[in-house]
Symmetry: C2
Subunit: 325 residues, 2 copies
């Protein structure tokens, strides 16, 4: 079903138009926001710097989005983008360079021109820090993973290493241990910075921990079969046979636009939202990985929908009450 | 893919067993929780008093769950239940009568026996108050709706009545107005109890408001084509041609078990949860409609997943820290 008219919105049929709502990012959060916004009658566009799909595109297999028992990440995003396109225009290759507030409008400068809107949803995502070692990119999705909750299950009862020393790394290790993996944690420092209760849980389970150790290479022809490890203090090197490498050395939210808008963020740079996915800045909402929480498709589609409905509610307020809160 | 073994859990192959986690309710929230819990290695069962699907079963058509452009509610729930069954046992016709905390376990008495667990997810849903007038049940899903966000779009640019005078009713009316509906609000009292800004927005849009008025009958052969209205002060009756009747006279959460567990609720009886879907009671989580928020499938699948991951994290804590928080 294609929707060709804009009801109740202020958008004009212009290639660089003025909208009720602009959604930045076409991952699952942005796509869901687009569906909900248009169904609520808001004029709306999604600006995507690359192609729709976000980080999901890199997942060879997804089994935990309810309704799709097993699907390639790329395929799921194709289906979701097609669903969204029935409602909303997705402008690909349209990167937002700068956003400013001018009177009651946001003005967005992109790589191709200017857009403006009364409200913005930031669905800009995040990316995982990489180790930057040989084999990592080549074997990504073939044994190298950046999300235990997403991919751990594929490694059930096999030997894996988790790289990192923070809360995410240790939670990943517990998750993998829980599904029967033989887990080795590799950390470049001599102590974890994770919460004490996580460290205690790791001890309780007797997971192997290698401090002062780095991964120098990830090996395998078609799939990961080993990692090359090096002790940074002794210089000793070792090769360990594993099926999986879970890299948990940090996740970086794409929150530059949020910063420009003065949106409140946590120390890691993730945008702080309330249960309605409103930020502290009126008419600015955030959803998906940039807003923290569990980094899962289910969370993203919820965030996008809720943010769009919050935008609808806020924009429906009469003009005179809009600025008094 | 069927998973036949329980890794890392304490569940035994028993018809009335002991589990890491019991999920009460097999709507989208409960089903999603089951998928995530089992993938995290928790032993788990879903107890459902009826059949899987929850309120979604009553929706003839769903267009806003990303990935399914148009699907019958019943069909979507079939697909989702099948997905969940690949991971977790769903016990249908198993109503939880009573839940008590005994030492470090919850004990649940059901219509057929007893279960116990270390953690509980309440995914018990809610139901909408009905008007209780002739035609309402017969035409439900055929013009009669209890959710404008879900169904409003099907009534684009047509004449509808919204019944009620609270925030939900007026928000529904604004939503329907935004998509080009001709909206009449019917309220049995002489004033709205909704927030002032919503009342102002309704005035600003010039939507018709009929105070002191009730719906006596919903009419139509196959689909709604009119409502019979009565002024409760003058007794005057009138028939109004409409395509849709949006009933917004209250939603009642199924929060009896939450009350037994001492879980904090809002004045409407909806369970209060944080962003991780934890309640104030340790090892008790809530997701889906019973936990308030937007009453949408996207919110339910997120809540279920997040609650299961929170349960996993809490249960992974070492024994000695489990009771000190």
């Amino acid at each position: 079903m294609a929707i060709t008219d804009d009801t109740g919105g202020s958008g004009e049929a212009s290639s660089h138009g003025d909208y009720d709502l602009i959604i930045v990012g076409a991952g699952p959060a942005g796509l869901s926001a687009g569906i909900y916004a248009r169904r609520a009658g808001l004029s709306c566009v999604i600006l995507e710097k690359g192609v729709p799909g976000g980080q999901v595109l890199t997942s060879p297999k997804i089994e935990n989005y309810p309704g799709f028992q097993e699907i390639e990440g790329m395929k799921l995003m194709e289906v979701m983008a097609e669903h969204a396109r029935a409602y909303v225009d997705i402008r690909e290759g349209e990167e937002v360079i700068r956003v400013t507030r001018v009177d009651d409008r946001f003005e967005l400068a992109t790589t191709t021109g200017k857009f403006s809107s009364r409200a913005i949803i930031l669905a800009t995502g995040s990316y995982h820090r990489h180790l930057g070692v040989p084999g990592e990119n080549r074997l990504s999705g073939r044994g190298v993973s950046y999300c235990a909750t997403c991919d751990g299950f594929f490694f059930k009862k096999r030997a894996v290493v988790v790289v990192g020393g923070g809360n995410t790394a240790l939670t990943d290790a517990l998750y993998l241990h829980s599904i029967g993996c033989t887990v080795t944690i590799v950390h470049r420092r001599d102590a974890f910075r994770a919460d004490k209760h996580l460290q205690d849980s790791i001890s309780e389970r007797g997971a192997e921990v290698l401090f002062d150790t780095v991964v120098d290479e990830i090996m395998g022809a078609e799939e990961v079969d080993a990692v090359k490890l090096r002790n940074v203090k002794t210089g000793a090197v070792d090769t360990k046979a594993v099926s999986g490498v879970f890299v948990a050395v940090g996740e970086v939210p794409s929150s530059q636009l949020a910063a420009e808008l003065g949106v409140k963020m946590d120390p890691g740079g993730f945008v702080t939202v309330d249960m309605s996915f409103r930020t502290n800045v009126p008419y600015v909402y955030a959803a998906g990985d940039v807003a923290g929480g569990i980094r899962q498709i289910v969370a993203a589609v919820h965030g996008g929908a809720a943010a769009a409905l919050s935008a609808f509610e806020d924009l429906a307020k009469p003009y005179f009450s809009r600025y008094s809160g």
